[in-house]
């Protein structure tokens, strides 16, 4: 535990109730599909039955004749502009390889056509009447097939840009090194090399992608959409439709889960185009099947990690080679690949030699996109299981090996500046790190020293304990920007206008808490409006664990400016110097005890003297990305006859800096952990030999239910990040990275097998045990 030189907070650090909670528990209309204007058209999409084919001809005449149909869209009558769907800052580090509709289809479920009609029934009927003539092409259905000499070229068009080498299906290529790993391995006492593979998995937000487009009275396009990235939606839709940004307004209402799949401009251009063509509001929502097949997925990856260490377990050389399957389009392909290394390797900065290289390749399969963890989740699988194996070989405790290797306060890593978001990163020095405490605390709570190696047997099976450590980031330094506007009302309340995107994470609440803290008011005096491109200032959106650290700092700065204005108005009212005043208890307080209420101050400024609107806008571009840290421990039991593994107890000890709202931070961790457990044990999109997803439903793609969770303990370190708002870092993503390596290591402790492929199904575990 460290001694932090910060004040005791009044609102920050409290588990305040969510500002949108009451409406949500009451079932108020808060999501896109809950309020549809009269005359809303329904859009349905025709998906490709083929993994790879040219569209030779389309006959939509019968479809258009179906009563109630307003338009039928294909590549022949829609804009041809190539863009990326990836919701990233401009210029996006993803290829411009996507058209609204293309003359070629590149995966089963790819867009062929769409119908907008008065009813879903009419739209579906029309879909069935669209005649398409395809020329089937040989399909590429794996990373190896994509890389083979002479493989079919998936993006053979001449108007796509930003692809590393389209002729070889390579979207991205990364290669960075530090020191000399070959020499490093030669001079190591022990070498461990593992290759792991992760599967196709999907986010399964309970609310599918949904957008409602309409025209406002001035004829501007208004897109109400379930998105993580409203400002990127506005810009990319403008680009795709060839209309100015000022002609578009994007509103994000409540979002029923995103987890990365809504960091994508997936449907908005299509819906917007329908509205522009028909003059009518239009609703486009994906069915659950389409959500699985035609939205975005986790990038399946094959990653090889080689560790070279001294006898005392200190790493001397680390090599990571990552191959990523980005599917039919290159959205997030480069950046997820790069993050497999940039969010993992700096953790072990003691090694003077490191090499990260890899490629993201196209395949004729569902499209990978952003998914919580963003490459780090895949990367920690081989890294943290290799570390476990290293410990085993050196006869050292895995906890000891982590303790000897992890990054500490005051240290940096050359990886920070060499590997960023697909290009160079930003150098940084760690200013807060309670990982040592996390490691020790987690070990104690799980009973690490008592239970490990014992292989106790009971009706659940053979018990084992495993651990892992990790870091993530907090925003993208020098690239991400968030802004906030605060204006004051004459009852002493404030409107907080933020671009930041609450997708259920509670960012509206925690950002309001930060403002409330600075302004000396209770939470209910902050009225939040978020994510409306007409009314709120810019924010990149909800990704890269940026909202608390980046948007929060913008809020803090705006609030400080507003505080200064209030103080300037109050000083003559109290006949004292500004330097004598502070804000507390909804008042301005002087050192001699005089007070004036905030309401009174605003009344004066609004109506009485030297009138002006008390308010400010501030922005934040971070210059670093201070990592949160996590130590995971899990106790599992393996049924030795069936291979079925049950996670009994999971401890996550996390350093997220100051937790602005401990209950919400805990909720973020718990949700991420359970998602990670599903990714580790049961979730898998199964693809046929013709590229078709065989289980595109929640019936057959199993995510954890309430009966499937272990006993979960989340504990927060007492930590303070000096560069963060109120001392905060981030907590949104890191939890999902834990379960795979932790459970893999626990399974090894239980039954002595090392698993290299997720998910760890009972069948796989049993096979590994039988082949031992």
């Amino acid at each position: 535990m460290t001694d932090h030189d910060h004040e005791v907070f009044a609102v920050v650090g409290k588990s305040e109730r969510k500002v949108d909670g009451r409406g949500l528990v009451s079932g108020k209309p808060m999501f896109v599909e809950d309020e549809l204007p009269a005359g809303t058209l329904h859009i349905r999409i025709l998906g490709s039955p083929h993994a790879h084919a040219r569209i030779l001809s389309l006959d939509t005449s019968e479809a258009e004749a179906v009563p109630g149909v307003h338009c039928v869209l294909t590549h022949e009558n829609t804009p041809a502009t190539r863009h990326t769907t990836a919701g990233q800052g401009y210029p996006e580090p993803s290829p411009y390889d996507t058209r609204m509709f293309d003359s070629k289809v590149r995966f089963v479920g790819d867009r062929v056509a769409a119908v907008a009609a008065e009813s879903i029934g009419a739209a579906e009927e029309a879909l069935g009447k669209i005649r398409v003539e395809y020329e089937e092409l040989p399909a590429v259905l794996s990373i190896d097939e994509a890389r083979r000499e002479g493989a079919p070229v998936i993006h053979d068009e001449d108007d796509s840009t930003g692809i590393y080498d389209a002729t070889r299906n390579i979207v991205a290529d990364v290669d960075i090194d530090v020191g000399d790993v070959s020499k490093g391995f030669l001079t190591s006492d022990e070498i461990v090399e593992v290759t792991c593979e992760t599967q196709y998995a999907q986010h399964t937000p309970i609310e599918p992608h949904t957008v409602l487009s309409d025209l406002d009275p001035a004829g501007r396009l208004v897109l109400k959409t379930s998105t993580q990235v409203p400002f990127h939606v506005r810009r990319i839709v403008a680009q795709a439709l060839g209309i100015p940004i000022r002609q578009i307004r994007v509103i994000k209402p409540r979002v029923g889960g995103g987890f990365g799949t809504k960091q994508e401009v997936l449907l908005e251009d299509l819906a917007g185009w329908v509205t522009l063509q028909t003059g009518r509001p239009a609703l486009l929502t994906l069915s659950r099947k389409e959500e699985f097949v035609s939205s975005r997925t986790r990038h399946p990856m094959r990653i090889r990690v080689k560790l070279g260490a001294r006898r005392d377990g200190v790493l001397h050389a680390i090599e990571m080679e990552a191959l990523s399957n980005t599917g039919a389009y290159g959205s997030h392909g480069l950046t997820v690949l790069a993050n497999a290394g940039s969010k993992t390797l700096p953790l072990y900065n003691k090694a003077p030699n490191a090499h990260f290289y890899g490629q993201a390749v196209y395949t004729n399969l569902p499209v990978g996109g952003a998914y919580r963890g963003y490459g780090a989740t895949q990367g920690y699988f081989p890294l943290e299981t290799a570390m476990d194996e290293l410990a085993q070989r050196l006869n050292l405790d895995p906890v000891t090996v982590r303790q000897r290797n992890h990054i500490r306060v005051g240290e940096g890593s050359p990886i920070f500046e060499k590997l960023g978001e697909g290009r160079e990163g930003v150098s940084q020095t760690i200013k807060s790190c309670e990982l040592a405490w996390c490691i020790a605390e987690g070990a104690e709570r799980i009973g690490w020293f008592e239970k490990r190696g014992r292989r106790l047997r009971d009706e659940d099976g053979i018990h084992g304990i495993g651990m892992s450590i990790m870091m993530q980031g907090s925003g993208i330094p020098e690239i991400d920007m968030g802004a906030a506007t605060i204006k004051m009302n004459e009852d002493g309340s404030f409107n907080l206008l933020i671009g930041a995107t609450d997708i259920g994470t509670g960012s509206d609440t925690i950002l309001a808490q930060i403002a409330a803290e600075v302004l000396g008011v209770p939470l209910e005096k902050i009225l939040v409006t978020s994510s409306d491109t007409d009314h709120t200032p810019f924010d990149v959106g909800a990704y890269a664990s940026s909202t608390t650290y980046v948007s929060g700092m913008a809020v803090q700065r705006a609030a400080e400016q507003v505080r200064d204005q209030i103080v300037a108005v109050a000083a003559p009212m109290l006949a004292t110097d500004q330097s004598d005043l502070r804000l507390a208890g909804q008042s301005v307080v002087a050192s001699d005890g005089q007070t004036v209420t905030l309401a009174r101050v605003c009344e004066r400024a609004m109506y009485e003297s030297d009138q002006f609107q008390i308010g400010a806008t501030a922005s934040c571009v971070p210059s670093e990305s201070p990592p949160p840290f996590l130590a995971n421990y899990a106790e599992v039991a393996v049924d030795p006859e069936t291979g079925h593994v049950k996670v009994l107890h999971y401890v996550a000890a996390v350093d997220c800096g100051v937790a602005i709202n401990p209950q919400l931070a805990e909720g973020q961790m718990e949700g991420a952990l359970v998602n990670g457990i599903g990714y580790a044990l049961t979730e898998e999109m199964v693809v046929s030999s013709r590229g078709r997803v065989r289980n595109p439903s929640l019936f057959d793609y199993k995510i954890p239910s309430a009966l499937d969770i272990p006993k979960i303990e989340v504990v927060f370190a007492d930590s303070y990040e000096p560069t963060g708002p109120m001392g905060a870092k981030s907590v949104g993503e890191i939890g999902i990275n834990g379960p795979i390596p932790t459970i893999a290591n626990a399974i090894f402790d239980a039954v002595g097998v090392r698993l290299r492929q997720t998910p760890f199904t009972a069948e796989r575990i049993l096979a590994a045990m039988q082949n031992r």
């Binding site: 069936t642 044990l681 019936f699 954890p704 009966l707």
Partner: protein
């Protein structure tokens, strides 16, 4: 998503009336129990929906010849019934607890689940092992073994199931059910249901049924033959499990391989028979 072209919704007030409609309209008519299977699986050939909700098929009674369950009884009603809980050490209750979730169980009916005969069904393998007898109406009222009914799809799809009777066996009788799933709310990769009855310690009646292999409930006579006439000791149980695993018809599907299902068959049979042995011990 409902895919039917159903335009007519009928609520017959008697079993005979329901049968008449079914008989007239054949393939175009679908019986509605809870209705979930109609919503999920009915085809565009369906034009008539026949709701059995108004029929007096909602009782659970324990008589001298067994537990008689009306086809309109929901899974939840079975789970809440003390009569069912008291039958054969609560084996039906055990099995139902692993079927879906309360949301599904509040809707699904016994008749509906038998009529749909999904290959992953948990109810059917257990009921087959229990020797269930189904009373149905298709012009006349008949009683057939469930095992025979699911093998006779033309009959199954063209009759009105009214009751299921789970027989009461000789004093020493027990059953056990096991399901192997990925999550707790999953259909099984495989399930196994065993029943054994006898007078002293020798087994005189045995039924071993495996379901979801991926095919629907199949009896495993090779395993039954090992057990019949013997005591349920460790050696017999092990041999029965091995024999069953070798003989069972298993296939690969997207959830599991056939070979893994073979392994699960052995484990399932063994654990079920051990449980039955324990239960026999309790009633000694």
């Amino acid at each position: 998503m409902v895919e039917t072209n159903a335009k007519v919704y009928l609520r017959p007030s008697s079993v005979e009336e329901a049968w008449t409609i079914l008989n007239e309209r054949g393939e175009r008519a679908k019986l509605v129990g809870g209705g979930a299977d109609v919503v999920l699986y009915a085809s565009s050939a369906t034009t008539t929906l026949v709701d059995l909700d108004g029929l007096p098929l909602k009782t659970i009674e324990r008589g001298n010849d067994g537990l008689v369950i009306g086809s309109g009884v929901t899974f939840t009603e079975l789970l809440e019934s003390p009569v069912v809980a008291g039958y054969l050490h609560g084996v039906v209750t055990d099995m139902l607890r692993g079927v879906g979730s309360p949301l599904l169980r509040n809707l699904a009916t016994v008749g509906g689940t038998l009529g749909s005969a999904h290959p992953w069904s948990d109810v059917i393998p257990l009921f087959v092992s229990l020797g269930a007898m189904v009373t149905l109406h298709n012009g006349t009222t008949r009683t057939v073994a469930l095992e025979d009914l699911i093998a006779d799809r033309p009959l199954l799809h063209r009759c009105v199931i009214t009751h299921v009777r789970l027989p009461i066996a000789s004093p020493r009788a027990a059953a056990a059910f096991l399901k192997f799933g990925r999550t707790k709310v999953d259909v099984g990769l495989l399930n196994c249901a065993c029943f054994a009855a006898g007078r002293e310690d020798k087994v005189e009646t045995v039924r071993i049924t495996v379901g979801g292999a991926p095919a629907i409930a199949q009896r495993v006579p090779a395993a039954e033959a090992v057990v019949l006439g013997n005591c349920l000791d460790a050696e017999v149980i092990a041999q029965a499990a091995a024999a069953g695993a070798e003989a069972v018809d298993v296939r690969n599907d997207r959830r599991a391989s056939g070979e893994y299902r073979r392994t699960l068959t052995a484990v399932g049979i063994r654990r079920c028979l051990e449980r039955i042995g324990e239960r026999w011990g309790e009633t000694a």
